[in-house]
Structures are given as C-alpha cells and as structure tokens.
C-alpha cells in the first residue's frame, strides 16, 4: 500500500535536537518555575491521595466488550433532527472534533440509512450474482470467507456532506458541517474475484449493487470501477461490520460517494446499461443554477477541514502554544499538501502531515503555533497528488449556484474570538 511515514516539509516543524533539549531546558525551566511559584495554592489532586490511587478498580471482564471512558460521553454521533422527517431514513454525524489520527472508531462512524438498520443473522445472509453472467451464483457468508482477502483503508464520505452550507454558514461545528465522513480499514474480498465465479459476459458494462434492507438500496456502478478497486467487506477496523454499517456484508467503492457503498449487500447484477435508480436520478444528482442537473457525479473531490479549534472545540487555554489540527482527503488519490491560514486567507503556511498516507484515505494535519490572543479566521486548503486544489465556496457557487446539495468541498472558515470561542462564518 503506502509509506507509513510522511516526509512532507512543514514550516511549523518543531526542531528538537539533543542540545536544544538539554540547554533549552534551562531557559523554559525558568518559565515553568515562575508559573509554579505564581500558583496561589498547591494542587490537592497532587498533594492528597485520590480514591483511584487507594481503592481497587474493576477487575477484568467488568465490560466484556469495552466502552469509552465515562468522561468521553460527548464523543458521540449526533443527529440534526430538523433535516429529515424521521430517523429511519436519516443521517447522523461523526464527532470529528473529538477524534485524532486518521482512523474513525467503529462506534462513532456516521450513519445514513434509507429504511433503518437491517438486522441479519449471517447464517441467513445470501449474496446473489445475476444478469449478464455465465452462471447466476448464490454465496453464503461461509463461501465469502473462503475467498482471498485484502486490507485497505478508505474514507467514506456522503455526497451531501457540507450540503447545508451552500447558501451560507448554517451549522456551528465541524461535526455537523463535515461529519458525514469516516475512515476505516476494511477487510474483504476484491469484487473481481467474486464476480469471476459467475463469469461476466462481454456485453456487461454496468453493475447494479443492491442491499437487503427495507429500502433495498440500489446503485448502478460502471463495471470498470467494480473490477478496478471495489471490494466486498465484512470487517471494519479489525472487527465485524457494525449493524449500522451493513453487517454482515457491504460494498466498498473507494473515493466515490458513500451512497454507492451498498450496505447489507445481497445482490450484484451485471447489465449493459445503467438502471437509473431513485438514488441516482431524483437524489444524488447535482442541480445547477441553470436548471440542468449533473448525473453520475461519483468521485468525492479534494477537501479538508480544521477540526480543532472549531465551534464545538474552542480554545480553552490562554495565549501561547496552540495545536491546530484537521483532516484532509481526496477521492482521486493521496493528499500531498495542506495549507493553513489564520488570517482569513491573506497568508498561508504549509501544515505538517502526520500518520499513514493512503490513497483515498483521511490524512491528519497539524499546524502548531503561538496564539497571540487576537481574533483569527482559520482555514485549511488541501491539494492531492493528482494536482487538484480544494476550491473556495465562492468558486463553487460561481460554477454551480447554490441548489446542488451534493459535492460541496469548499474551504471552511472558523472565526476564533479573543475569548477562545469559535464560530462557523464566511468572510470576504
């Protein structure tokens, strides 16, 4: 797959050699000592023995399947109730501002259902291949587990991510503006191996993928893409798919809009034309200002967002050292660079990319700086290895108008106030 270490040069690298650590220690030590002396009273959390330091805690198996700390109860998916008529055909959002690194934990991967979560015993699940094939075939999950497997890390982004922001700033928090994205390592079988068991006829040009849920979700996918890099996954981040992510089987369509990643995958049909299903005609088509709609806009374009600081994650410390971080991704390849501005796009600095860099996976970036306590307008701008540069929202509006709902990958602005609070704004 890819290099595990990122070597992108960054202006904000902290350079600490042995000499700086030893000699510099004296200089900063002076400040630390002053801070300690300045504190009015000593900290009882240190000077007094705490309960957790004296009494025994839970033993093993207190929680056979572990849960997050009780102090992390805000690290949860959130729904925006007014967006949809009910919760069965609805969406919630990944708490991006609470996460770090590039992997999204399974329990907080955003959900999008069109007929609720199907609950299927793997023993009762079947995958059928039919249409323009030599032999229509039925697989059980046991059969699927006998194919050669691969492990791949990909982001999944809903085409409507940031869709509420076309007409201006609307939702206060990156969870709501950008949280229809998650990033997991999938274990599964390359789709081409599975299709080969049925034998694709030469007239076959398209694939219809269909789910077993109450919406029987269905999408047309060009066969070239299906045979190139799509996979049928049964594990995410090492464990079985979560029910809300399509347990026991889902389609993985790298770099393309999330709606195509059919969950509870039960059928693959080969055909010579697209099917023009509901989710590729009345929905997931992009209406332009002139009344014309683009269809089959599959790839997710290059995009980034600063997750901290952000409206749900204000700066809570004073002036001085500050960690600004965020996520960048592209459906066309790897992220090669992320630039950050703190003065509303007047001047940009290249951020430091850290962590594994995989094609069509989330990338983590950091910009470490000294905050002087003044008002900031922070933005990030991603560039992928295909040379695509993340556009501004105004550039997108100039090209498309404001009614397209989908594929808003414009640059996001957070206003950071002197009190550390942050707001979703647009600036001129």
């Amino acid at each position: 797959m890819s290099d595990n270490k990122n070597t992108t040069p960054a202006s904000n690298d902290v350079k600490l050699g042995r000499r700086q650590l030893l000699a510099g220690g004296l200089a900063t030590g002076g400040i630390a000592a002053a801070t300690t002396i300045a504190a009015a009273a000593s900290d009882p959390l240190i000077t007094e023995v705490q309960d957790w330091n004296r009494y025994l805690g839970d033993g093993v198996d207190a929680s056979p399947y572990g849960k997050p700390s009780e102090y992390e109860k805000d690290t949860v998916r959130r729904n925006v109730a007014w967006l949809t008529a009910d919760t069965q055909s609805s969406i919630n959002f990944t708490p991006l501002h609470k996460l770090d690194g590039i992997i999204t934990p399974n329990g907080v991967c955003f959900e999008r259902h069109h007929g609720g979560v199907a609950v299927i015993d793997p023993a009762d699940h079947r995958l059928m291949i039919n249409g323009l094939v030599d032999n229509p075939i039925v697989f059980t999950m046991d059969d699927i587990m006998r194919f050669p497997r691969e492990n791949r890390t990909y982001f999944l982004e809903c085409a409507a991510n940031s869709g509420m922001e076309w007409r201006g700033s609307q939702l206060n928090g990156c969870q709501f503006t950008h949280g229809m994205v998650h990033n997991c390592m999938y274990t599964g079988v390359p789709l081409k191996y599975i299709l080969a068991e049925a034998g694709i006829k030469t007239a076959g040009k398209w694939l219809l993928a269909e789910g077993a849920d109450a919406s029987a979700m269905s999408r047309s996918i060009p066969l070239d893409k299906a045979l190139d890099d799509c996979m049928v996954a049964f594990k995410m981040n090492g464990e079985s798919l979560r029910p809300e992510q399509g347990y026991p089987l889902r389609l993985v369509v790298p770099g393309w809009e999330g709606n195509m990643w059919i969950k509870w995958l039960r059928r693959l049909e080969i055909g010579d034309k697209a099917w023009y299903q509901r989710e590729e005609t009345s929905k997931y088509t992009d209406l332009m200002e002139n009344g014309i709609a683009r269809s089959f806009t599959w790839a997710m374009d290059v995009k980034s967002v600063i997750t901290n600081p952000s409206p749900q994650a204000p700066i809570t410390h004073g002036k001085g050292r500050t960690v600004l971080t965020g996520l960048a991704w592209s459906g066309h390849g790897k992220i090669s660079r992320v630039d950050v501005t703190i003065d509303g796009g007047r001047n940009w600095k290249t951020a430091r990319l850290d962590g594994p860099s995989f094609s069509r996976s989330l990338h983590r970036f950091y910009y470490d700086f000294d905050w002087d306590g003044s008002e900031l307008f922070v933005q990030s701008r991603a560039i992928d290895d295909q040379g695509n540069v993340q556009p501004t929202k105004d550039q997108l509006r100039a090209a498309r108008g404001v009614s397209s709902i989908y594929h808003n990958n414009g640059i996001q602005t957070w206003q950071i106030n002197p009190d550390g609070s942050a707001e979703n704004v647009e600036i001129s």
Partner: protein, 357 residues
C-alpha cells in the same frame, strides 16, 4: 482457587442454575409468549384446528399427525421420518421454524429468546388436555432423529465446477426471479400487469397519503411527489416526479422495492401500475382518470425533465485550472464576516446529545 472461593463459586452456580430452572417453568410468562401463536393455534378444553393445528397433547405426538388437519407436505414428511415432538426438537423448531422444516406452512418467524421458548413450553404443557404426553417423550425420539438427519461430512461435500475458485452454488431460477426486481428506463424488468388512474387513487389514499399528502404535496419533511413545475431555477427548487425525475421506470422500481415506507414489497404489481398511473395524473402528465398504464404502454410515457440531465463535467469548472495557489498577500484588506451560523441558530444544543450508553 481457595477452598472458600470454590465453595462460593459452587453456591453461586447452584443458585444461578435453580434460578434459570425456575424461570424455565414459568407457564404464566409463557401465556404472554403464546399471544404470538394464538391467531393460528388453540390449546386447552375445546381447542380446535384453526389456521394451524390445535396443540393439545403435542409433546410426544408424531409431527403432522392430527387427522383432518391439512399440514404442509414437508411437515408430514418429517412425521413419516419419525419426528416426535419433544423439548429439544420443539426448541429447535420454534427458534426458526423455516430453518428446521424448510417448507413448513407455518408463517411464524420464530422466538429469538431462549427464555421465551422455555416459558412457552411450560405453558403448552400446563394447558395441554388429552393426548398422550408421556414422560418418556422428552428425548426418547432423539436417537431415531439422529439416524434420519444424516449430515454430509466436510470431506464428502463435492466441489462445484463453476467459476475459478469454485465457490458458491448455482442460483435457482425462482431465486433470481424473487430478487431481480429492478426496472430500467428501456422497460427491461417490467412485470406483466396494468392499472388505472382511478384505482391508483384508492391505493394512494390507503398507503401513501399519510406521508406524501392528498395531492402529493408532502406532509412535513416527507418527499413532495407532485407539482414544482418550472421551479428548478428558483431559489428553492421543488424536485418532484413531474418537475425533476427523468424516468418513469424509477417510480415503478422504487415503489416496488421500498414503498410503502415500513411495509416494502406489500403491494402487488397491478397496484403499482395503478399507483404509478395516479402519480402521472397528480403531475398532470396524463389527464384522463380512466387512463390505464401497463407493461405494453409504459415506455411510451416520458417525464418532462428527461432531457435536462448531463454527465459529470466538474473537471471543466474554472477553478480546476488553479494548480499552484497563492501563499502570501493573497487578499487585500482585513477579513469581514459576511455570513454567520449564529445568525440562523439551527445547530442542535450540544447538551441534548445522546450519551454513550
């Protein structure tokens, strides 16, 4: 393990076991479970065969053996093979009836909780009158059963000849027909059938109006199905079947696979033809209430907005030409806020978020 701990552990085990036995015999709780069965089955004094056979004296009786009741072939065959109901095989059956007897006529999905199954058995035994509920019935038929259910050993399962890795099995024609319900704009996949606008109105009012409104106007945030003509360039476009959808086949396909919401696959093909015809009527695409939509005339109907879809051309957008963006002094003057989320105040209150529970 210390002696003390061992004793405590044993005591705990015994306690748990007796607790589970006690609950296993809860006929009263079983009466509640039986509510799921009583629309088809009766038990006790005067019990008669209804949709399903009466259940008096079931334990110890050969499967499919009540005279005068019309069992499925599959059930009678299992009886002929020597299946006599006992605790063990009844539990297996009631967990997932169609798994234990593949073609049983019993439409019940099964009891998923072990507690429910045990309580149901306690109830059925307590209520049973007549029959021959011999105490030996529990488990006596086991050996015979094992004999009849011969399972292939792994090494004896043949490798199929299809494909490259030879995995999976050939699909049956009726299996493909059951799942292959998609329809294309060229009419491929349309089932035989037809339906009239006025019949569609009845289907619509019964199944659709509560969400989509009497005239397809949409209630609350449920989708609007009709109207919205010439609104696609408006500030708030109304994307309906008549104003936006390119193909009628999508209407039939989607209704058949996913509607009515929460009761998918419950309408028959003629109902869906009628409903589709009615949706054309609500969108002024047909004007005659006697209009009949059928497999034969389906592809002659074109939706008004069909021509207004184009392929993805994002790569031609002007900003795509920018390859090396500006890094310093990019904009003159200081930033001025032109739009704020707080002005709208639609963000959900963070305190109302769900907890990790």
């Amino acid at each position: 393990m210390s002696k003390f701990l061992k004793a405590a552990f044993l005591a705990l085990t015994v306690f748990c076991l007796s607790a589970s036995l006690a609950s296993a015999q809860d006929a009263k709780a079983g009466a509640k479970v039986f509510k799921k069965c009583r629309s088809c089955h009766t038990i006790g004094e005067g019990a008669k065969n209804k949709v399903g056979p009466h259940l008096n004296g079931m334990f110890g009786r050969t499967a499919g053996s009540i005279e005068g009741f019309k069992y499925s072939k599959a059930m009678r065959a299992r009886g002929a093979d020597g299946l006599v109901w006992n605790n063990q095989n009844f539990i297996e059956f009631i967990t997932k009836p169609k798994k234990f007897i593949k073609k049983t006529r019993m439409g019940f999905g099964g009891l998923r909780k072990e507690k429910d199954r045990l309580n149901l058995i306690a109830f059925l035994k307590a209520q049973s009158v007549g029959g021959k509920a011999s105490p030996a019935a529990d488990g006596s038929a086991k050996n015979e059963e094992t004999k009849t259910q011969t399972k292939l050993l792994a090494k004896d399962v043949p490798v199929p000849s299809h494909g490259i890795l030879h995995l999976g099995r050939l699909a049956q024609l009726d299996e493909v027909a059951a799942w292959d319900i998609d329809i294309r704009p060229d009419g491929k996949g349309l089932p035989v059938g037809s339906g009239k606008v006025s019949d569609g109105e009845v289907v619509y009012n019964e199944n659709c109006a509560r969400c989509h409104g009497d005239f397809g106007e949409g209630i609350g945030r449920w989708p609007i199905l009709a109207g919205g003509h010439d609104t696609l360039t408006d500030e708030r476009p109304e994307k309906t079947i008549g104003s936006f959808w390119p193909y009628l086949s999508t209407v039939f396909d989607y209704v058949r696979r996913a509607m009515p919401f929460g009761s998918a696959r419950s309408l028959n093909d003629n109902d869906i033809y009628a409903l589709t015809a009615y949706l054309l009527f609500l969108n002024d695409i047909v004007e005659d209430e006697d209009f009949v939509l059928s497999k034969e005339n389906f592809t002659s109907i074109h939706l008004p907005n069909e021509k207004n879809f184009i392929a993805d051309n994002r790569k031609d957008e002007a900003h795509r030409a920018i390859k090396e963006p500006c890094m310093s002094d990019c904009v003159a003057g200081s930033p001025k806020v032109v739009s704020r989320a707080r002005a709208l105040d639609v963000t959900p209150d963070a305190k109302e978020g769900e907890s990790v529970e």
